[in-house]
């Protein structure tokens, strides 16, 4: 199949960028979207041009490193999917695909389609863990966790940190990401000791990073590859109310 890619090119974080169009032939429907970009890059090398920088690693939807805005949607036209899971059969032969980097003040562009998501790491740094040292654990079954609670924690813990929630949100809010980690840990008995501190510090850091606030458009839960429910944000708010005012 034949596709025209319209791709954001930007030399580095200090320069401004622009869209460039590339006509690519010889694609097949079985190719993944990233394989189509690989193919384009090989063509660019042949033409003595610099390759397009874009991110990926596992290519099976779990590492969270890939992620671009494709034809007006985070991770492409389907709901709850990563960029690497997207295949060319989802596009029309002869069509145009617009590829843009995640756009958010807190995700500065490094090059072309690559953005810096280290703000997420810094949110995790502020309490997205259980402060216990290696070697201090008690017998595993001494902590009982009911199935419903374990499942609920797992639902939230599934976040892969890809940043699609921020990318799709009109406010560039990181509420879904932050809420998922808070609810994962605060729902488990292991996380209770630091529950209030965790919710206060992580949300504080989230604001420091310059993310916007949640206005419940619900776009994030549609684009989230792990289908993390927006209810998590409401739950985080409840925890925040409790930690701030009802202690």
């Amino acid at each position: 199949m034949k596709i025209t890619f319209k791709i954001w090119r930007q030399e580095n974080s200090n320069t401004s960028g622009d869209f460039k169009s590339y006509d690519v032939d010889g694609l097949t429907e079985d190719m993944s979207f990233l394989e189509a970009l690989d193919h384009l890059n090989e063509l660019l090398v042949q033409r003595d041009e610099k390759v397009i920088a874009y991110e990926y690693d596992c290519r099976e939807g779990i590492c969270g490193q890939c992620g671009v805005f494709i034809n007006g949607r985070a991770h492409g036209p389907h709901a709850n999917m990563t960029t690497c899971q997207l295949h060319m059969r989802s596009f029309k032969d002869g069509g145009t695909i617009v590829v843009e980097p995640w756009r958010a003040k807190s995700f500065p562009i490094i090059k072309d389609l690559v953005v810096d998501r280290s703000a997420f790491d810094r949110i995790i740094e502020h309490g997205g863990y259980i402060s216990a040292k290696t070697g201090t654990a008690a017998e595993a079954n001494a902590i009982l966790v009911g199935k419903e609670i374990a499942d609920k924690a797992m639902d939230a813990a599934a976040c892969i940190g890809c940043g699609a929630c921020v990318a799709t949100c009109k406010n560039a809010s990181a509420a879904l990401f932050t809420a998922a980690k808070i609810n994962h840990l605060n729902n488990l008995p292991q996380g209770h000791q630091e529950a209030d501190k965790r919710v206060m510090e992580m949300t504080w850091q989230m604001e420091q990073e310059g993310f916007g606030s949640c206005t419940f458009t619900g776009a994030c839960e549609v684009e989230c590859p792990e289908s993390i429910s927006i209810t998590n944000i409401a739950e985080m708010n409840a925890r925040l109310v409790k930690a701030k005012w009802l202690r």
Binding site: G72, E207, T215, F216, T217, A219, V241
Partner: protein, 217 residues
């Protein structure tokens, strides 16, 4: 940020309750002319003279002002968080138009509010414009103010059409306010979504048809 959102949610919820009272009172306008006039005027006089209502009125003004100010601050902050827009963005595929445009809708509601307050509040409370007469019972004839205003088809259309953004604003606002304040019960949220839609529908339709009824009286 969370504090600001909480203020918007709390003031919004207060305004939602106010609207219920407001609409109930406006229902009087649908009664036959004579009953409506005396009932409406005595009701509004009672309101104006009650000390409790006076306090609530100030809470109401404050709520409106805070709701607007904080909404503005939050919107500006949110815009700053996303300085560059996408060339192509199909938001319709992942979210409702309303949720994406609460700011715009809010401005329309504000526009309505300014006109509405100028028509009623400024005349009756502040005594601006033409002097309002008294009715046969000696009450300020608020009914006449309403009645005469809605003889003008342009005002009727304005009041009716702008109930559409109000409805949209209420539908998204009511359920979001609850979520902002931390209501996260899964089934409860599904019920809440229906309640919000129902509430917003009643408000929009209720406020929207009254001008017409008055017009055709």
């Amino acid at each position: 940020m969370f504090f600001r959102k909480t203020i918007i949610a709390l003031t919004g919820l207060f305004l939602c309750i106010f609207l219920i009272v407001h609409l109930s009172a406006n229902c009087i306008l649908m009664l036959p002319e004579e009953t409506a006039r005396s009932l409406y005027n005595s009701y509004s006089t009672a309101l104006r003279e009650s000390p409790l209502i006076k306090v609530i009125a100030y809470v109401l003004y404050l709520s409106i002002v805070l709701h607007i100010i904080y909404a503005l601050i939050v919107t500006i902050k949110n815009k700053k968080a996303k300085p560059q827009r996408y060339l192509m963005n199909h938001t319709k595929e992942n979210s409702s138009w309303t949720s994406q445009n609460m700011g715009l809708i809010g401005i329309l509601v504000l526009l309505f509010l300014v006109v509405h307050l100028a028509n009623f509040w400024a005349r009756i409370k502040l005594g601006m414009g033409d002097v309002v007469a008294l009715d046969t019972n000696g009450h300020v004839d608020v009914y006449e103010v309403t009645y005469s205003l809605f003889q003008n088809i342009y005002f009727v259309l304005f009041y009716t059409l702008l109930m559409i953004p109000l409805g949209l604003h209420l539908n998204h606002g009511l359920k979001s306010a609850f979520k902002t304040l931390g209501f996260y019960h899964k089934k409860g949220l599904r019920v809440l979504a229906k309640v919000s839609l129902f509430y917003a529908g009643i408000m929009a339709i209720g406020f929207g048809i009254i001008p017409f009824i008055v017009f055709f009286k």
